[in-house]
Amino acid sequence: MRVALFITCLVDAMYPRVGQATVQLLERLGYDVDVPLRQTCCGQMHTNTGYADQAVPLVRQHADVFAGYDAIVAPSASCVGSVRHQHAALAARSGDDGLRRAAAAVAERTYELSEFLVNVHGSVDVGAYYPHRVTYHPTCHSLRLLRVGDRPLRLLHAVRGLDLVDLPDADVCCGFGGTFALKNADVSAAMLADKTASVLSTGAAVCTAGDSSCLMHIGGGLSRDGASVRTVHLAEILAST
């Protein structure tokens, strides 16, 4: 099965190790991974900040780049959410019906990493070993937009050596929210403070999630507070052996 990696702009620029881990993991599981280099960004930031018009060309580009793959996998619930829940609507509002169909076709075959592993690959044990105490933060877009449910937790449970601890008030937003973190920085920081307090209360050494964006936010807060808890993307844990 030819799988395209939808790397997402944030991972490409800031967290290449998350992309590398995703590639290693998928290759280890026997997939032929391709990274179409003409991909750039899904346009979510533009859409969610009110610049839908600027997002439409990015939707077109995305639909074009990823047409024809069996499966498209991304290590980000948020970006998959954008592809699945925004792209076709953006295309429809721009009045381009061909684009709407193309975007919908790509969306149908786009998976967030844990969805792909559990639903397409069909196994929760991916042969990982990670001897650390870990707590999992379900990001809003994985929880409520994609409804990945307990898939990430099942994957984490199957990792050898991993000690999984529950995060209190796990389903509450960490306060990232894209440009919300800048436009409403004070509220965002207040939400972050509660989230980092929850993380610290678990005694975990690692906080993981399915979105590098939220982890950048949580990790930024932990780092500023001088906490030793590290933020590690789910893909990195599942890739490690």
Binding site: G19, Q20, T40, G43, H46, P57, T179, N184, M216, S223
Partner: protein, 488 residues
């Protein structure tokens, strides 16, 4: 040519309470500084969230009720005019009178004239966000008429000369000690004083409110209410409440004036079987609220001799005109979305500047006033989606917020941001340029200290005030891919 064919008619400025004095981020900053407020809100919203979850979970057909609740409202909105005409016919047929108000000013004028015609200078009021929306109390005061709020929470708010902060629990920002102090200080000034040794026990506080208001109820001759539902088919009005002050207002006075947004109409009597299950469980987390009153026009020998229904537009038809925004008019004001909202929980209702706070306020207020008058509200959300999950009429608030953001940008987008967004989009459409741009981000490594960036210039300083930013990596993902997996 007529006015309605031009710009959609929004709620007018200078009257009522749909616009704040400060943009949301500034108002929120003030609220965040109030530790008392935050702890009250945190405790209250956590309690009510848990209660709601418990009573919703015990309903096996909740999803079906929710789908019906959304569809019934959509059916009304798809043909609102016919439903209103039907409602009017039925109310009139049963001895009521119906008045139409294009906006807040007109509604205030209608109600003021109706009260004046009775010769009364005092009216009792029950639970009505709509009358707060239009600033009715202030309008009545200008005409020399005192409007007395009778919900316990509204009474607290009115006595403290404060503003409500929650749809359902307007005094959620006050704790028992503050309430006792307000009662002791203010009750005697306007009527029956608080008992001399009033403690902060909620039972005693409720008793004080009972005594204070009873004298008023027994002598009131005019009452003003809102309505939760109005049935087009039969002309039946419904008010849902807990304390009994609603029943007092709806049955004891001779004249009853009900002010209702035009979106509150439902098609048939049967439809109430849906909302009377959805509303109490979503709002107070009860299986049913203590009292629901229903009346149809005037009932000889039972209740008011005169009934007036004021149908209010005030920006609702303009909201209806937007196919991407009109679902906000489904809202039954249960406040479930407020209680689950992590933003609302931390800043409270006042920061939203409008009588409608929280997630629904962030979409409804800008729609009623036009996005230009409330440009910061659609951004007052992290788009976490908790509101959509709990909404009993399935309003997709996050998607609507995103839609309104684009309206705000279209109306008034800040110029540097617009240029930046256009620039980024332009680069992102050009993969080669984009690859180069990503490499250039490595420059930021120069700003770093000890593996992280701790200070950036505005506007990114908003990030680094409370958060570190990791250093960009030495090699982007795509460069690694090309290096390890072959040709570009």
């Amino acid at each position: 040519m007529t006015a309605f064919l031009g710009m959609p008619a929004r709620a007018p400025r200078g009257v009522g309470q749909l616009r704040g004095d400060l943009p949301f981020p500034a108002a929120a900053r003030e609220a965040l500084g109030n530790a008392q407020l935050r702890s009250n809100l945190g405790r209250a919203t956590a309690t009510i969230r848990a209660k709601r979850a418990a009573v919703v979970d015990e309903v096996p057909d909740w999803a079906g009720l929710r789908a019906a609740g959304a569809a019934i409202k959509d059916a009304v909105l798809a043909d609102l005019g016919s439903h209103l005409i039907r409602l009017e016919e039925q109310v009139v047929a049963h001895g009521g009178r119906v008045h139409w108000a294009r906006d807040a000013n007109e509604a205030n004028r209608i109600v003021t004239d109706l009260v004046r015609a009775t010769g009364e200078r005092d009216v009792v009021k029950v639970k009505s966000m709509t009358t707060q929306e239009i600033g009715l109390n202030e309008a009545l005061a200008e005409a020399g008429i005192s409007a007395w709020e009778t919900d316990l929470a509204e009474l607290i708010v009115q006595l403290a000369d404060d503003r409500p902060s929650h749809i359902l629990v307007p005094a959620i920002h006050r704790n028992r000690t503050e309430i006792r102090d307000i009662f002791r200080r203010e009750m005697g000034r306007v009527g029956v004083p608080a008992p001399p040794h009033l403690s902060e026990d909620p039972h005693e506080l409720a008793e004080a409110a009972r005594l204070h208001l009873r004298a008023r109820f027994l002598t009131a001759r005019v009452a003003i209410s809102g309505a939760n539902f109005a049935v087009a088919e039969t002309g039946t009005l419904a008010v849902v409440e807990s304390e009994g002050n609603g029943r007092m207002c709806l049955t004891l006075p001779e004249t009853l004036i009900t002010v209702m947004g035009i979106e509150k109409v439902v098609p048939t009597w049967r439809d109430l079987e849906v909302y009377l299950q959805l509303l109490p469980r979503s709002s107070t987390g009860e299986r049913m609220n203590p009292y629901t009153s229903m009346w149809t026009g005037v009932h000889p020998g039972d209740g008011p001799l005169e009934f007036h229904l004021v149908l209010l537009d005030n920006g609702r038809s303009a909201t209806l005109a937007d196919p991407h925004g009109r679902a906000a008019l489904r809202c039954i004001r249960c406040s479930a979305c407020l209680n689950v909202c992590p933003v609302y929980e931390r800043v409270g209702g006042h920061a939203y500047g409008s009588v409608y706070p929280g997630p629904i306020g962030a979409v409804l207020s800008p729609q009623l006033t036009g996005a230009k008058d409330n440009p910061s509200l659609p951004f007052a959300s992290s788009l976490c989606g908790a509101c959509y999950d709990v909404c009993p009429v399935a309003i997709d608030i996050p998607t609507m917020l995103v839609h309104l953001r684009s309206e705000v940008v279209a109306a008034s987008g800040p110029k540097p941001e617009r240029a930046a967004m256009a620039g980024v989009s332009w680069v992102m459409r050009r993969p080669r340029l984009y690859t180069v741009a990503l490499r250039l981000s490595r420059v930021a490594r120069l700003f770093g200290r000890r593996g992280a960036i701790r200070r950036l210039p505005p506007p990114l300083s908003a990030w680094t005030r409370t958060r570190d930013l990791p250093l960009p990596p030495a090699e982007t993902f795509r460069d690694w891919w090309v290096r390890t997996h072959g040709s570009p």
